[in-house]
């Protein structure tokens, strides 16, 4: 094969002759340089002929650059022509004839202005999110209430399926992280309180902290990451493949078939998981107290019993269904908001997890204030 694209230029009285040779293909590294050189060498000639008879391979990229050079010369006032092109090459040059494409209009904008505009848009969207979220909550509640009124339409299979996905399958990881965190809190408590000689109070610390806050908070955050993302991705890809539209045209309500079962399953699973988390946290604390501070389990649990009342235990569990509802609402709403592109699916899943974790913490804070106010 003939290799890199080359040409030889010769001039006579009639004009310039450019004899092209070699492979004028898009893969040739010198392609653009050579095409520019075509113009450089013969600029100012009255007539230029492109002799294509010795060209080896030619593709659309090569034909385009050659024709671009030819048109540039023509624009400079030369009369231009092709000569000697084989039938295939002539057809290719015809197909790839150079034409100027209008550059996409790009409005000049300042970075600062863009930044401010972005910020404004984000604020507006956050406000809109609240309104849409409340409306969505209303629809979910209405759907669940309607299902409660007519139990035959209650989707038991779907709920139990999701209960397994969100609940049973989350038990090991929830138990493990809470066990570890219970142990860490106990260790820190023992270590820090030792300087006041108040080591035994570390047990109270573990009990109150785990039951009131950590158990439910860690479980909710874990579920926002684990189940919230799964819900968004699942509903989002159903949206992308028009499955949601199919549900609608079948006369079914996606709220009833998709959203409500997931919300109900999550609202049932989260309190149960929180209970598992509480127990695991207490056991983690017990193990560390025993091995680290020499507090035997019998003493540990007697102290726990003395330190915490039923209200401490309940105050954690009460929060769980609310957390579940928030996670389910955000996850399903983000899923239904997925657009056509893979990128939008990824963005929505991220949003779902971030928003859900944020809202879980906000709600936890509100409950803390509320419980303090009613002295629960």
């Amino acid at each position: 094969m003939s290799g890199a694209p080359t040409f030889t230029a010769s001039q006579d009285r009639a004009g310039a002759l450019l004899a092209l040779a070699g492979d004028w293909t898009i893969g040739a590294r010198e392609l653009e340089d050579r095409a520019d050189a075509l113009v450089r060498e013969t600029l100012g000639a009255r007539a230029v002929t492109f002799d294509c008879s010795s060209i080896g391979k030619l593709d659309t990229g090569g034909a385009w650059t050659i024709d671009r050079a030819l048109q540039a010369l023509a624009a400079a006032g030369a009369s231009v022509a092709y000569a000697g092109a084989s039938r295939e090459h002539a057809e290719l040059i015809e197909a790839a004839r150079f034409r100027a494409f209008a550059a996409p209009p790009r409005a000049p904008r300042s970075v600062l202005l863009d930044y401010l505009a972005d910020m404004g848009a984000a604020m507006r969207m956050a406000g809109g999110d609240v309104v849409v979220g409340v409306a969505f909550l209303g629809r979910v509640v209405a759907t669940v209430a309607a299902a409660a009124a007519r139990p035959s339409r209650f989707r038991r299979t779907s709920v139990s399926h999701h209960l397994e996905q969100f609940g049973v399958r989350s038990v090991p990881i929830i138990a493990l992280i809470n066990f570890l965190v219970g142990g860490i809190v106990a260790q820190q408590g023992i270590f820090q309180l030792a300087s006041f000689g108040a080591q035994p109070f570390a047990v109270d610390l573990v009990g109150i902290l785990v039951l009131r806050e950590l158990g439910v908070l860690l479980t909710s955050i874990m579920m926002a990451g684990r189940s919230g993302s799964a819900i968004t991705a699942e509903i989002g890809s159903m949206k992308m493949r028009e499955e949601i539209d199919a549900i609608v045209v079948m006369g079914l309500d996606p709220m009833e078939t998709l959203v409500a079962p997931r919300a109900i399953a999550l609202a049932l699973a989260l309190p149960l998981l929180t209970f598992v988390a509480d127990m695991a946290g207490l056991f983690g604390g017990a193990l560390v107290a025993w091995s680290y501070a020499g507090i035997p389990p019998v003493v540990y649990f007697a102290r726990i019993k003395a330190a915490i009342g039923v209200s401490t235990f309940l105050s954690g569990l009460i929060k769980a269904p609310f957390m579940a509802l928030v996670i389910a609402l955000i996850a399903t709403r983000e899923g239904l908001a997925v657009g056509g592109s893979a990128e939008s699916l990824g963005r929505r899943v991220t949003e779902s997890v971030v928003k859900a974790i944020f809202m879980v913490i906000v709600i936890d804070g509100l409950f803390a204030v509320f419980f303090a106010a009613i002295d629960f």
């Binding site: 990229g61 385009w64 015809e94 893979a342």
Partner: protein, 265 residues
């Protein structure tokens, strides 16, 4: 009936397949398939649904592992050469997937530029121009270049995907149901487009289709797949006259007769 003799694969052919076996579990989808696609021809593939047309395409492209057999694409067996060498062969292939498979996060022009950006050292200006040239060759209006795939109609997605398949000036173009989902006028235009491109770019075209009009309009030869093999191969008119039960049902059904008549008239 089997057209390919038990000869060694032909390195001069664009695609040459010998004794190809592809199986999923116990189910042999392709069972000793032999095939030659000559350079510069348009080869159509027909067969009942589930006869392995798509599996054959995907196996030739190296997307599905084979159990045994030889596949030469442009004279090289992709499975038996090193990864960089295989990539060099793959660069010479263009594929139009059935659903277009455009990258949804990129604009149409960026989709066409993507393979050029990865494989070639071109100035951004030339890359942009070539992308728009390919889009124009594929018959897309100029303003489609800056749209996202989600904003395009089905026919435009096919055209954009074709432009991307042509981005690196491939030697072999694989088309998987190129006219499925297009209206008859759009499908006819697409056929003409393939014929024109094949004429001017000298492409070899490997086309899986159910569209009888496409078969008669642009295919030089048609291969019929059945029970894991090529059961017949030849010009569409010859196949239409064959005695095979499925083929005669396929070509001489109501729709086949109409398509054949339209081409004779």
């Amino acid at each position: 009936m089997n057209p390919a003799a038990p000869a060694p694969p032909d390195p001069a052919a664009a695609i040459s397949v010998r004794g190809l076996v592809v199986a999923f579990g116990d189910k042999r989808v392709l069972d000793g398939l032999d095939l030659d696609v000559r350079r510069g021809e348009v080869m159509g593939f027909v067969g009942p649904s589930g006869s392995g047309k798509s599996v054959l395409t995907r196996t030739i492209l190296g997307l599905v592992p084979r159990r045994s057999g030889e596949i030469l694409v442009l004279g090289r067996d992709i499975a038996r050469i090193s990864r960089p060498e295989a990539a060099a062969v793959e660069r010479r292939l263009g594929v139009l997937f059935q659903q277009g498979a455009l990258f949804s996060g990129l604009t149409v022009a960026q989709n066409v530029e993507a393979p050029m950006r990865e494989h070639l050292r071109l100035s951004p200006r030339l890359r942009g121009e070539l992308a728009r040239l390919k889009l124009a060759l594929a018959g897309l209006p100029d303003d489609a270049a800056d749209k996202y795939p989600a904003e395009l109609s089905g026919g435009m997605v096919k055209r954009a995907a074709l432009a991307r398949a042509l981005a690196l000036d491939p030697e072999i173009l694989f088309l998987d149901e190129p006219t499925a989902g297009l209206d008859p006028i759009g499908a006819g235009e697409f056929d003409d487009l393939i014929a024109t491109l094949r004429e001017s770019l000298g492409l070899t075209v490997f086309m899986v289709t159910h569209d009888l009009d496409s078969l008669f309009a642009i295919c030089d030869r048609v291969a019929a797949l059945g029970s894991g093999r090529v059961i017949a191969v030849g010009p569409p008119r010859e196949l239409a006259a064959s005695g095979d039960a499925w083929l005669s049902a396929y070509f001489r059904g109501k729709r086949g007769r109409a398509a054949a008549q339209a081409r004779t008239g």
